[in-house]
């Protein structure tokens, strides 16, 4: 049953592009050869090579264990027992994946995508094709070697675990055809040109989850790996990975030389070397080693993540990203699901002049399901200009959102609020230390001044947070910008706004501020304009979605004393907002 993907030769291709025009061979639900006709209208099976793939995945981690056991000349009985457990695990996995393969069938009719699964508890899912929002192809290493890919079909449902249908796995070329079939606009039958040309030809080569079609919007540059190395999350992940690797390594060493004097000898040797070196040098070298290791690890990780990144637009309706060195990830996103973009600049990345670009779209793992946030990436961390240019091209805007765009500044009280929040803890700790120093001899009298030193960076961050605050709107988009640890700029389609959440804390009420949240079906579900002036924020909300808030507004007879910022205010970067 395991035909190589190259079997679907070019002359079979035209039939695939005509839904309804296929030959009715193999119409019994059980006896369908996988892909005998190049259509998906009859019940299809998955590729049996997926069984092999999952078995390999179970076997692979066993080798180091077995190796260690063999090396350590462990008790043969225990080794035998382990081997038995291992074999059982392998057999069970193989049996399990064979069963799930055997009982899984899917088909694509004119209206619906249908999937049958399960042996013990059978399940049948049937979703309308118009509800399918994304079709993602993933090919982990083993899958790539076998020429198969995992297909994930996203319907963008908020709740329930059945929001994703997973086909593990299909021959890569078939997966490509399925993706194209499912994402093709229904109004345009058999778009048999352009997009279908390159299909089977590149499927044979390993990892061919890629077709040279569509207009390229962005492509990976080698220098961008440095930017992705800088993203803090990546650094943390790397350090965690190194840490766990170290402990594993030491476990291995201990297993190897448990009774040996090797470790003792090593540590003696090390001690004798290090004892002649000053402590600060030791500490410094350890720090440098850890930093270098972290950086190199992050570099390696980012290369794995972003290798060969391409962002393309296919048939004017679908955005497509493709990336990965070992595991290839290909994500498709329909244009009509896109509600905007988000530019995120974590601190380190911002200092380097870089930015991340992600999509704000429905059906890409919203709200709680942010574990799939990888799918949202429209660009690897890249220079800010590139991210802005790409954002403009993705949204088909003529103007780019450049750094100096005149977003509206927020009232001065927002700065006061940030300053208070930053400095209050500093002052509190300082006072507490002063009191403690007066009471006891344990704490030196000057200790109260130490936290005050932290006040300077805190104030700088507060100032930065205020400068980053801004909002505005264009014909089509709402724009909000905020944050200092991660500075975010969100462009949200005004048509995508499906409600408002306006909140006011007591402090905000006293200072005439409020936070406006625009709810949307895409992305996080809600995008905020924090600490806008009360009237400013409400007027802004009303202008962004005319008529929605208007019935609930009333003229403010007595002014709240909140100074309104003049229209020709300079961009917030220059920091010369009108003072009260």
């Amino acid at each position: 049953m395991s035909e190589p993907p190259t079997e679907y030769s070019a002359d079979e291709q035209p039939t695939a592009e005509q839904p309804g025009g296929e030959s009715p061979t193999g119409d019994s639900p059980t006896g369908t050869r996988p892909g005998a006709p190049d259509s998906f209208e009859t019940w299809q099976r998955l590729d049996p090579k997926a069984i092999l793939a999952s078995t390999v995945l179970v076997i692979a981690p066993m080798f180091p264990v077995v190796g260690v056991m063999a090396l350590s000349r462990d008790n043969s009985l225990r080794a035998l027992g382990t081997a038995g457990v291992w074999l059982t695990a392998v057999l069970l996995t193989t049996l399990g994946s064979w069963l799930s393969w055997y009982f899984t069938r899917f088909r694509v009719t004119d209206e619906r995508f249908e999937l049958r699964q399960g042996n013990i508890s059978r399940s049948f899912s049937s979703i309308p094709r118009e509800r399918i929002r994304s079709v993602d192809l993933t090919a982990p290493v083993v899958h790539r070697m076998l020429g198969i890919a995992v297909v994930k079909i996203g319907t963008g449902r908020q709740s329930g675990s059945d929001s994703d249908l997973k086909l593990d796995a299909m021959p890569t070329a078939r997966a490509e055809q399925l993706r194209e079939l499912l994402l093709r606009p229904r109004t345009r039958p058999a778009a048999g040109s352009g997009t279908s040309g390159a299909g089977p030809s590149d499927a044979g080569r390993p990892g061919g989850v890629e077709r040279e079609t569509g207009a390229e919007l962005a492509r990976m540059r080698p220098s961008w790996y440095l930017y992705s190395t800088l993203t803090a999350s990546l650094l943390l992940v790397t350090w965690a990975a190194i840490g766990s690797a170290m402990s594993t390594l030491s476990d291995v060493f201990r297993a190897l030389w448990a009774s040996d004097s090797a470790t003792d000898w090593l540590s003696d040797k090390a001690m004798s070397v290090w004892s002649h070196v000053p402590v600060w040098l030791t500490v410094a070298s350890v720090v440098v080693t850890v930093l270098l290791g972290g950086l190199l690890g992050a570099l390696a990780l980012s290369v794995e993540m972003w290798w060969g990144f391409r962002l393309t637009r296919e048939a004017d309706t679908t955005l497509r990203t493709r990336r990965g060195l070992l595991t290839i990830r290909a994500v498709s996103l329909e244009r009509r699901r896109l509600r905007g973009v988000e530019l995120a600049e974590p601190l380190l990345l911002r200092w380097a002049g870089g930015s991340r670009l992600t999509a704000v779209a429905t059906g890409l793992g919203e709200g709680a399901a942010s574990g799939r946030s990888d799918n949202k990436a429209l660009l690897p961390p890249a220079p800010r200009e590139v991210a802005e240019r790409t954002a403009a091209r993705v949204l088909e805007r003529s103007d780019s959102l450049d750094r100096g765009s005149p977003l509206r500044a927020h009232p001065r009280t927002a700065l006061r609020r940030r300053m208070t929040r930053a400095l209050l803890p500093v002052v509190a700790v300082s006072v507490a230390l002063a009191v403690a120093a007066a009471r006891t001899e344990l704490i030196p009298w000057w200790s109260w001044s130490v936290p005050l030193l932290a006040g300077f960076p805190a104030a700088a961050f507060a100032r930065d947070a205020y400068r980053n605050l801004g909002h505005g709107y264009s014909d089509e988009y709402l724009v909000t910008r905020y944050g200092t640890g991660v500075k975010r700029t969100v462009l949200l389609q005004r048509e995508g706004i499906i409600g408002w959440r306006i909140s006011q804390s007591p402090v905000q009420r006293l200072t005439g501020l409020l936070t406006v949240g625009a709810t949307t079906a895409a992305g996080n579900g809600c995008y905020y304009v924090p600490d806008a002036g009360a009237e400013q924020g409400l007027a802004f909300a009303e202008r962004c979605a005319p008529g929605l808030l208007e019935p609930f507004l009333e003229k403010n007879s007595k002014s709240t004393g909140e100074p309104t910022v003049p229209q020709n205010d300079s961009p917030p970067e220059s920091g010369n907002e009108t003072t009260p």
Partner: protein, 170 residues
């Protein structure tokens, strides 16, 4: 070009038209009392079992008791003043909170589901909550402490309006 918006019109949000049922005060009071009681019982238990730090725990108990009495006395009435709701032909509008306040607006055309929920306490008091969800993961509008009949009528009306409105609500 990004429009930064013209001069403000000097506007503010007006409170929604309808208050919730007066019995909601009782409901919130019960909730407040049970919350404070749990906290005080925990502190009292700790003071009983841990003689070493008993003085500190007793002080904490007294402070929490005073604050708790204030909370029970103030919060329900404050909430009753703030919690309001209103529906028009085109939108649902709610206000909630007490110290912090939140106003939510959802257009009829974007409403996906309308649920009514009644916990045991609400049932005993003849109250009901109506929750209106939209396609947004972050935007359900919840009106708590409605008279049972009002809630049923509201849910029915919203469902009817929503069904009559075309669109896929995203």
């Amino acid at each position: 070009m990004i429009d930064v918006g013209g001069t403000e019109g000097g506007v503010r949000l007006r409170p929604p038209r309808h208050r919730v049922a007066r019995r909601a005060v009782l409901w919130w009071s019960c909730q407040a009392v049970s919350r404070v009681a749990v906290l005080l019982l925990a502190l009292g238990g700790a003071a009983w079992w841990l003689p070493a730090v008993r003085e500190w725990l007793v002080i904490a108990l007294i402070v929490c008791g005073v604050l708790g009495i204030g909370y029970v006395a103030v919060m329900p009435w404050w909430r009753y003043r703030v919690h309001r709701w209103e529906t028009t032909d085109s939108a649902v509008y709610t206000a909630a909170g007490w110290v912090s306040r939140e106003w939510r607006v959802a257009p009829m055309s974007r409403i996906q589901t309308v649920d009514t929920a009644r916990g045991p306490l609400q049932r005993a008091l003849g109250l009901s909550s109506v929750t209106v969800t939209t396609a947004s993961a972050a935007g359900p509008l919840s009106i708590d402490g409605l008279e049972r009949d009002v809630a049923a009528e509201l849910a029915e009306r919203l469902t009817r309006t929503t069904q009559a409105t075309p669109g896929d609500a995203t």
